[in-house]
Symmetry: C2
Amino acid sequence: MINKIASYIDKVVKLTDEEKELFCSCFKEVKIKKRQFIVQPNFVARHRHYVLNGAFRAYVVAGEGQDHTITFAIEDWWITDYNSYIFQQPATMFVVALEDSIILQLDYEKEQELKMQSHKFETFFRIVAERGLAFQQRRIISNLTHTAEERYENFVSKYPLIVKRVPQYALASYLGMTTEFLSRIRNKRVSKKS
Amino acid sequence: MINKIASYIDKVVKLTDEEKELFCSCFKEVKIKKRQFIVQPNFVARHRHYVLNGAFRAYVVAGEGQDHTITFAIEDWWITDYNSYIFQQPATMFVVALEDSIILQLDYEKEQELKMQSHKFETFFRIVAERGLAFQQRRIISNLTHTAEERYENFVSKYPLIVKRVPQYALASYLGMTTEFLSRIRNKRVSKKS
DNA sequence: CAAATTTCCTAAACTACTTCATTTTTAATC
DNA sequence: GATTAAAAATGAAGTAGTTTAGGAAATTTG
């Protein structure tokens, strides 16, 4: 169902049928197995990935080998290493499938062509970038102003679907705490409830 | 010198002389006194501000009245509450002048017109948003992977000019630590050196 | 379905960072 | 240029979150 991407873009900018077709034709549908990587450090991220089906996790590995989750992506989200993709420089992140997944890949050159060909496509990618910017701003604010427990509670109420699908250690490292501490928070919560 | 903005945009997308003139004509030069606010919570951020001269600080005030610096801006940087500006919703941040400053304001409606009028302007704002996104991504990574001391050292080496111009408590809250702790880090550093 | 591997839990010791309270230094204001 | 206010430094005590280590569940794989 590569046409799902058409209905997605159509929510952002109105396209004619020909434009939709052109847009969709630039994407390649790819199946990704659980634990398979779609971005790796030192390689340039050549694609922006739209998740049709499945779940992904982007993370960096710091000095002592602990990894830190930068972002998740499930259905209808985009994922890649943006610092790598935008500037076409070597990536610092891993992006790995958490489940068997299906994605639509848009490669860098094709994206540039789309943006040059049509003002509307340019607008689309501008809006996508702005929303990403706003999202990250909110995350930075949340990290600065909330405790570990509050960050967890906020995340659960905003993204209950993601919480159910990602492993605890990945969520903990996204929220900026250890998996042990998150485990404690969760169990405290359960005992409070009962 | 409203024309400084023209040379700035010209570095990003090449414009004709007429386009430059059109672009510049949308900006309004405004003088801002130290401690004056250009964005305040509950009001919609109606402008995007380009700093010609001076320094600003954007911050949020959390529950207990401590404030958390979201970003700084000095010469050639943009600043506003993006969540408010992009979606034209009430702001959650303060943006205040740290020095007597001169800014170029672009208001929301004019920006929309510019983007509609010309593909090039659309491209310009797309690139600005993408760079902002990449910048914030790097900050999130830094906050997740580094200790307070490392964050400070990194900041000093990347933005030595900003360090000299902003008060310590503001920098501390940007880096996610207390002003007392930053004070200790700094003094430890001095005694190490001697 | 049994073995192997990955994920999660528990608990005690530890530490990076905070809080609070006081003093010193620097900057703003009349 | 003296007075007041704001910012930075310092010390002592407290705490949110980490580390380490061992074992219990749960998932994956053959």
